[in-house]
Structures are given as structure tokens and as C-alpha cells.
Amino acid sequence: MQELRHAVRRLARTPLSSLSAILTLALGIGATTALFSALDTVVLRPFPFRDPDRLVMLFETHAKRGSDRFEVSWPNYEDWRRQQRSYDDLAAMPNAVSDGFILEGRDTPRRLKGSLVSGNFFDVLGSRAALGRTFQPEEGRSGGAPVVVLSHAAWQQALGGDPGIVGRSLAINGTATTVVGVMASDFDFPRGAELWLPAVTTLPDVVASRQTGFLHVIGRLKAGVAPETGRAEIDGLVRQLARQYRTDDKGRGAATLAVTDYLLGSTRLALFALFGVVGLVLLIACGNVAHLLLAQGLARRRETAVRLAIGASRGRVVRQQLTESLVLALAGGGLGLLLAAWGVRVLAALAPEEIPRASEIAVNPAVLAFSLGLSLVTALVCGLVPALQASRPDVVDALRDSSRGLTASRASRRLEGGLVALQAALAVVVLAGSGLFARSLLALEHVPLGFDPQTRSFNVGLPDWKYPSLEAKRAFHHALVERVRALPGVEAAAATFLRPLELGGIGVNSWIALEGEGSEAQDRNPSVNYQSVTPGYFEAMGAHILRGRGFEEADGASAPGVVVVGEATARRFWPGQDPIGKRVAVYGAKADPKGGYVWQTVVGVAQDVRHRQVHEAALDLYVPSEQSPFPAEYLVVKSPIETAGLAASVRREIAALDKDQPSDAVALLRFVDRARGGARFRAVLILAFAGLAAALAGFGLYGVLAHAVSRRVPEIGVRVALGARSRDIATLVLVEGLRPVALGLLLGLGGAVAFGRAARSLLFGVSATDATALALSVVTLLFLAVLGGLGPARRALRVDPVTALRE
């Protein structure tokens, strides 16, 4: 207690430096705490499933195609489920949520996002409804009464939070469907789903085929069964089923992914990387404070020596020093917590959609505990070395006229040099890391998308109950496209099955066979990204046809089969040849119901369009809608008119054809932004941290050098008296400052490369050892070092020998 009082009194005696120490620590602890909140909420907190550790996602793999994450077909899923014994049960859901669920009977029909899941979906997850119940076994079978489970958000927003919702009947896609339950607000699986309907086993042909993989399968491992055992069993089943039902051999197998990894994707690595970076920033801050305490300790050497001489124990001196750094750290931590409370709001606002639970990031008790613990650790890190150093002065030396030596003791200078080197190293890692992330973002933003992001899109997916046949749907879309094209200002319009970049890497995989290719070669063909589009699609998207032609009205259902391929596809399958006129068999285009090959002719090559991922072109293959089993879901429109006016007139045209078809207007830019969101989030955060790191390191270096110069005034005086010129003195000061910086740079470069390697999967268009990023970080740091050294160097140049050498 007495120590506390002394500590506070002492810190108050140097208010400016104490305040700057507190502020420095507040920034470090605040940033670290804010990032911990994100890590805790997003990554560390268990997802709302029972024993989430036992949940895995199951995929097929096709080794020969070099593909490790194929979706599973419905019949295969059912066979797995029946035959496996490693899992309590397997559930299934489509690979993407669909916005094709139209809720009617309210003022205006509206679209909801939903998922047709297996009846055991919630049981396998072990998630219970917050209101009502989830599905019962018979509800997953054909003929069961139609039921729906709603998300908390859908209940609140679409249904006004109606407290009596359970048991109500809703008109969903023309079917009276009973609400049996509402999930808790933290249940968000698959991401974005607003409702869940039990999938029934009577499925349309295309869905019932073993060729159509569209399911993500969720398995709950039996207690005590290792994930690998479970995977190996499914692997065996996949082979067995392939032998049983297929003649091809694509090297099929199975892969698993922990459900938390499935949900988090690259977010876990990204947040850990950022947390690591912010930890380095905190260490830099600690370095500054440690140096401050060290300098004060030196200044108090004589006082400490007196205390030791009159019998104070070393432990007591150490304790006194540590109490001081504890007071600083706790004050900094308290202020930091305030900063963190503000910081988490910034984080939540900046977080891209791909980060789950981002809106829940907040300062909670776990975060409070963390920041308290962090403050204590910080106090130790900042205070221990200065405390030990202060408690060990050479008593005799310190008591004697301490100005006898011209320079500070070698040991304390080495300590300061070490601090500088460490800070420089840490700063280089942070700066280089920020360079890598910033360059990744820049590269991502300069990727040619292959389409105009200003293209507008509207959902026009039609419900089966109202438009039961493909023909009926095609007729609607055909008429709509005609009407929209006639609107003033519309330059092009078309319909398509999928919008680019909407589903985060998911699309329709299809396989193709080339004419004249042996079956072994065929098995090795990589899958293509299947797009079904109407004539005018390329014009509406602003994607250029490079050779041949796009689709025309003449490419109808009964016309000869045609396809357009992307550039990458052309290069992959017909290297050095003209693909126009080549013939391919495409599963999913004019499919022969008996499974034989139906040959289609390549009529055009289109520029690669980033349909699935911004950072990687897929092997695009386009089939005319009229020749595809997939109905169009979206209208794409190219128009220079501002969105609101266009959206209104397009909606009018949709309503003119069917007044009950709700449609939202979205510019494709939205999906582009979303696809780059993760990279932008990482770049923005790390750049902020890098700024902080640079400022702290520059400040720290300035402090060390200023302190060094002030201690060396007499020595500098002697040197001037001996004839040293200004440049000799400037060199002396700068070299002393820069030598540890140079050492730190070397260490830091090693650390930066290690960081780059660890975060490699987050990088795009830049290698982990990117020379530009490394060089920039070095140059920045050197610049800071020189900047930090200028003031002290100037001060050194003004040293007058006569005042320095008063005898």
C-alpha cells in the first residue's frame, strides 16, 4: 500500500512522461483488447451446436481431376447415411442458401433466403429451437405435412416478431406451411438462412441423379471415433458406390472439414494473424515504456543506491519499481478498455460478411478479464528489466561522483540497444505484413473481373407451383427480357442461372468430354464452371466475345446444341488450337436421358469472367438457357440510367407479367465488394496497426536517442574539443542509434518472412517474401529512425564543449 502511494507520487512528479507512457500503453492494450473481442466472439466462442467438436462436413474428392471439395448427390448422401457406422447420423443441406422462397399473404410478397435441409438437420447439429420445436422425423419424408422453422431475424423482420407465430400457417411458394419453431438469434447455419424447410425425398430428376452433387453433408461423429476413422469409412463408401453405379474412375474419395473451419474459412487465420500483429504493436509500446522506466531508473541511481546502502532489500527495490509499472499499466489498461469499447464498434462495422457473428463483437466479461490480465502481463514485461537493472547499481560507483565516467555504463547502453533492436524488428514485421496485405488488396482490386460491376441484377426465380415446367419459366423470362430491352436507356438485358461472385466460390460443377478423347483422358478432365444464360448475356454483362459468337435466339430447345467457352477453358482443352467448331459432351446440357453422349458445338470464346472467385478464373462453360435443365434465376441489365429509376421500371415490367413476383435490385458491384471484403478488412486493420507501430517505434527511437545524447553531452563536448566536426558528431549519434536498428531490421526481415509464410493463404498476387513489401518496410523504418534521430542529433551538434566540460 505504501509502495502504491510512493509509486503514484513518483509518477505524478514526472506527469508528462507518465502520461505519455499511459497513453502508449492505452493504445497498445486497447487495440489488442479490441482484437481479442473479435477473436473471442468470432472464433473462440463455441458455435451454438451440441459438442461442435464432433461435427464435420463431408465432401467427395476426385483425385484425378485435382479437386478436393465436391458436393455430394442426394442418392449418395442417402446411401452414406444408411451404410455408415462412424457417425451418430448424417444430415445434408444444399451448398448455398437460396433466395427462391417467396412468402405471400402479407402486404406484398417477399423473398426469403432459405435452405431445404434433411429432416434430421437440427438433430445432427444438436440445436434446439428458441420457440416451438425443430423438425420431427416424419416431416422429412414425402407426404409429411409442410412445416418450416424460421430464423430469429426472419421472425422479427418479416413477421413483426409475432409472439404467437408457432402454429401459424404461412404461404411459402404457394404452399400453406406451418411454422413449428423459431431458432435463437445466434443460430446462423448455413450462413444467411432465414428459414429451413425439410427436403422431401421426391426430387426432380436432375436433383435425384447421382451425377448432380449439390449437398454439403454434416456428420456427427460417434463419441470416441476419430475424425480420420470417420473420413476413411466414407472414403470406402464413395469408392464402393462409384464401382456400383458408375463406369468412370475419377479417383474418388472423401474429405472432411471441421464444421467450425467450414464456418470460419480464412477468418480464423486472418483474425489470429491480426491478433498476432496487434500483439507486436503492444510489445513495441511496452518497449517504449520499459525504456522510459529504465531512463528514470538511471536518473534515480543514486537514490536507489542510498536506499540499498541504508539496508533496503533488493526485493523491496524491485517491488517498488514494479508497482510503478503496474500503476502505469493499469491506468493504460483502463483507458485502453475505453478505446477497445470504441474499437469493437469500428471492427464490427468494418467486418465483411464472410466473418460470422461479427455484429456480436462486444466488450464482454471475458474481454474484461483478458484486458485485466493483459495489463498485468504488460506491467511485468515493461517493468521487470528496468526494475532488475535499478536494483543492481554498483553502490560505491553510484555514490561516488557519478559524472566521473564520460559515458553511460556499457551494460545499460546494451540494454537500450537491445530494446531499440527489438522494437525495430517488431515494427518491420508489422510494416512488412501490412505491405503484404495492402498489396494483396491492390492486386485483388486490379484483377480484371471480365464483367462490368455496374451491371444491375434482379431476382426473377420462379416458384415451381406456379410455373411447374421449364418451358413455362423460359417463356416468362423470354417475355421479361423482351420488355426490359424495350425500356428507355436499357442497352442490353438477359437472364442467367447464377450471378457472378454471389455464392463465395460455389457454382455448378460439370464435367465434359472432348470428341475423340479416350475414357482415361476423360476421367482426368477438370470440372468446368457451368453457366446457363440467355442470348444477350455477354452484352448485358459487358463481357467480350473474343472469337465466334454469343448465343442467339436461334439456339433454342430444339436447335443443335451449342456452347460458349471461356478463354481459360479454351486454353486448357484446346491449347494452340481454334476451339470454334470443336465438339464436347457436357453433362447438364441437352442431356441425353439415357446417359449417352450428346455432342455440342463450341460457337464462341468469351473473356474469362470471375464468376466464382475474384482471385481465380474458373474454366467457364456457357450453355443456352433454352438447352439447359436449369431455369434462369436472375435478370442482368446494362443501362447508364441511375439505379432507382431503372429498378422501378424493371419491377413494373416484372409485375406486369406476374404481380406476385417480388424482386430486389442489386448492382453486381455488391458481390464484387463482398468478395474483396476479407482482403479489405485485413488490409485496413493491418495498415492501421502498422501506422501505430511506426509511430510508436519512431517515438521510442527518438526517446532512446534523446536520452543517449543527454547522457553523452560531456563526451560530445570532449570530442568537439578534440576537433570533431558537425558531421562527426551527427554520425556518432546516428550510428549509435542506427546500429541496433540495423540489427533489428535483420531480425525483423526474418520475422516478416515467417509472418508472410504463416499468412500465405491470405495473400493474393504477392509472395510471402515480396521484395517490395520487405523493402518498403525497411525504408519506412530507416526513415523513422533517421527522423527520430534528427532531433537528438541536432541537440548533440549544439553541445558547447565549455559547458559540457565544466570541471
Binding site: 566521473r404 565516467g405 564520460l406 559515458t407 556499457r410 560531456p714 563526451e715 563536448g717 570532449v718 570530442r719 568537439v720 574539443a721 578534440l722 576537433g723 570533431a724 566536426r725 558537425s726 562527426d728 558547447d800 564543449p801 565549455v802 566540460l805 570541471e807
Partner: protein
């Protein structure tokens, strides 16, 4: 060589001027060996620092080899100093983290003497002062006397025209003191002008003139 006219030096103390040197008018010719004597606090060191051009904060006139030092900028003044003056400090002021050898070398490197030449010169000086065996030691490994010896050697190493020494034998036993005085005499005979501050009558006899200071005034 040196012409002081009405040189005064004071310190501000509580808004008042505390004079340390009063109306010093003094001529020292090339080749002289002058001893400044006087009680402690008389201003001897202060005068020496003015002569040594470390101190520019004086009033009055100071010509050195015909050059008006009082009119020069700090930089120009230090340039004149560097070319002409070697200084022995009262409390040695060796550079702690340089070896004896390096301490002797540093004035040369500040004067852009080539490395090869430096080696020869330093070796010579080490020899002359009989400290060859100590060349790799650090100052704190030497006795006070040895440190003073090195400090004197360092003042000579750049072959100055003028040597200023502030109690150069203060910490030496009489043998060593005599050695240094002999050395000064030899240098003086070879043409180097020497001004020393000393309390020792014996040392003063090595010189050819004594200047007395009392309370900042020249006394006769």
C-alpha cells in the same frame, strides 16, 4: 600569436552578472611557454577555455595569429582551434569506450589524416610516452596517472602549434610530472607554444613566463 584585449567572461546568476574574467589584456608570442597560476576559483580554467576556443561567450577582443576570434562563428572558431590547438583537460576526459590507441587516434581521424599515416603517428606517440604496452586497454583499466599521460599524448598527437594544459600534472607523481614537463620543454624548444595552468612552482620554472590570476583579474 595570442592577443587578448579587455576580455571579460561572466555567468548569469539570479539575473546578475557574476564575472569570472575581468578586463584581461594579454599577449603571448609564438614560442613562449607560459604558466598561469592563481588560487582555486580565480578563473584559470575559464581563461584557458577561452584561449582554447571552446568558449565563445566572452566579450572583448581575441586575436589568434592575426585572426579576430571574437568575430568568428562557432564553426569557424572550432576550425581554427582544430588546426592549431591541443588541449589537456584538468580531469583527463578520455573517451571511456575507446582503447588508449583509439583515444590517440581520434583527433587525427577528425583531421582527415589517412589511416596509414595515423598508424605511424600514434605508434610514435605511444613510444614517446612509454605506453605501447597499454595501447589496447580501456581508460578505466589505467591508473589516474596513466590516464593523464594518455590525455597529454592525445593533445600532442595532431602536432598543434599551441598546447593548452589545465593542471597536466595534477594527478601524477613527481617522476611522471617531471617527465611531462620535460616533454613540454622539448616541444617548446622545437617551436610549440605552451600555456599551462599549474599550482606547482617547480612546474612553473619550466616555462619562461608566469601569468597570475586573482578573482578574475590579471595580477602582477
Amino acid at each position: 600569436m595570442i592577443e587578448l584585449r579587455n576580455v571579460e567572461r561572466w555567468h548569469e546568476q539570479g539575473g546578475q552578472r557574476a564575472y569570472v574574467l575581468r578586463r584581461i589584456t594579454l599577449t603571448i608570442k609564438e614560442g613562449e611557454f607560459v604558466s598561469i597560476m592563481g588560487p582555486s576559483g580565480a578563473g584559470k580554467s575559464t581563461l584557458l577555455h577561452v584561449l582554447g576556443m571552446h568558449d565563445g561567450e566572452f566579450s572583448g577582443e581575441f586575436d589568434f595569429l592575426g585572426e579576430p576570434i571574437h568575430k568568428l562563428s562557432r564553426k569557424a572558431r572550432l576550425e581554427v582551434q582544430k588546426k592549431n590547438i591541443g588541449f589537456v583537460f584538468q580531469s583527463y576526459h578520455l573517451l571511456d569506450d575507446l582503447t588508449v590507441y583509439e583515444n590517440l587516434e581520434i583527433p587525427l581521424s577528425y583531421r582527415d589524416v589517412k589511416k596509414s599515416e595515423r598508424q605511424g603517428i600514434v605508434a610514435d606517440v605511444l613510444d614517446r610516452f612509454h605506453i605501447v604496452g597499454k595501447k589496447d586497454l580501456y581508460p578505466n583499466q589505467l591508473s589516474g596517472g596513466q590516464q593523464q599521460l594518455v590525455a597529454v599524448a592525445r593533445a600532442l598527437v595532431a602536432k598543434p602549434k599551441l598546447i593548452l594544459a589545465d593542471e597536466p600534472t595534477g594527478n601524477l607523481h613527481s617522476d611522471q610530472g617531471r617527465e611531462i614537463m620535460e616533454l613540454f620543454r622539448t616541444l617548446n624548444e622545437a617551436g610549440t607554444t605552451i600555456v599551462q595552468v599549474t599550482h606547482s612552482e617547480t612546474n612553473a620554472t619550466y616555462g619562461n613566463r608566469i601569468v597570475k590570476l586573482r578573482d578574475g583579474w590579471l595580477a602582477d
